[in-house]
């Protein structure tokens, strides 16, 4: 049996040079967002209401990790009541290499009935192992996971 393949597409239109030009990003498969603007200035300086590739990766990693953690907790017999996951992606200029994504830091807070601090931390570590995006990013950047158990009764 063939493995199910999941395909998702996004479209970008860019006009002008990199310093003064601007782009728009559309979630082509889902239509969940359309024509979200980005510029070089919003990428490396103040976001000024515009997104950037790094912010989209932060959203992707937070989303990937969250579903992975939800799955691990369910497998452990303690499904989450609520998970709050924040991801911060850092891009830095590395000498001789140029701009590089150097870190992805995950902070995961969970209200999980029947779990405890140690079990939640263990599920978070397993979620990191199971999240395909964690594995990819780890090849070139540091991935850190901070798990904060917030009870669950």
């Amino acid at each position: 049996m063939a493995l199910p393949r999941i395909v998702r597409q996004a479209d970008v239109a860019w006009e002008g040079n990199v310093a003064r030009g601007s782009g728009r990003i559309t979630a082509a498969s889902s239509g969940a967002f359309v024509d979200v603007p980005f510029t070089l200035a919003s990428r490396i300086d103040d976001p000024d209401g515009k997104t950037s590739p790094e912010e989209l990766l932060a959203a992707a990693h937070a989303g990937c990790f969250t579903t992975s953690l939800g799955s691990e907790l369910t497998r452990a017999g303690t499904p989450a009541e609520r998970l709050d996951v924040r991801c911060t992606i850092t891009m830095d200029e590395v000498e001789g290499v140029g701009h590089r994504i150097v870190a992805s830091a995950i902070e995961a807070r969970g209200r999980v009935p029947g779990s405890d601090t140690a079990a939640f931390a263990q599920a978070a570590a397993a979620a990191d192992d199971g999240c395909p995006f964690s594995a990819l990013v780890r090849a070139s950047a540091t991935v850190t996971i901070q798990a904060i158990f917030e009870g669950g009764e």
């Binding site: 199910p4 998702r8 970008v12 889902s30 070089l40 515009k50 969250t66 939800g70």
Partner: protein, 145 residues
């Protein structure tokens, strides 16, 4: 100088029946966006997914790198249209990213444009971060102006 960008997701319930929201990104440029397992693994049904966000990040990063490379070569683009398609196999991970770009670039030929696109694919920080993806393919062509 390091640049930080963040996003926050809230999830309630189990993986298969629960649902999540990307309810806050640092810039405020989009959201809240709903996510769920079924919209990730089956039909999107209007919801985004980590794979679609990775496609968006890669298409955006590649477009900027290509614009920068073309300008450095003395042929800045008028317009670039990029698509990124991410293929994800559950249990295996992201197996392929396919980039397509169509450019309106004055005073350039197809060979130089393709070379610039190859350079952008190699140089953009998202490509480097996703270097572990087994296959990143690229199709570049000039649009009829």
């Amino acid at each position: 100088m390091a640049t930080e960008r963040r996003a926050q997701v809230t999830w309630t319930g189990s993986l298969l029946e629960g649902s999540g929201t990307i309810h806050e990104v640092g810039s405020g440029a989009f959201g809240p966006l709903d996510v769920s397992w079924s919209s990730r693994a089956e039909a999107p049904d209007g919801k985004t997914s980590p794979e679609e966000l990775i496609a968006a990040a890669h298409a955006a990063c590649f477009s900027m790198a290509l614009s920068g490379g073309l300008a450095r070569a003395g042929t800045p683009p008028e317009r670039l249209e990029t698509s990124a398609t991410v293929t994800f196999v559950p249990g295996e991970g992201i197996t392929r990213i396919h980039l397509t770009v169509e450019g309106i670039v004055p005073a350039i030929d197809e060979t130089a444009f393709t070379a610039a696109a190859e350079g952008a694919r190699a140089a953009c920080p998202v490509s480097k971060a996703l270097a572990g993806v087994p296959e990143i393919t690229l199709h570049a062509r000039l649009a009829k102006a």
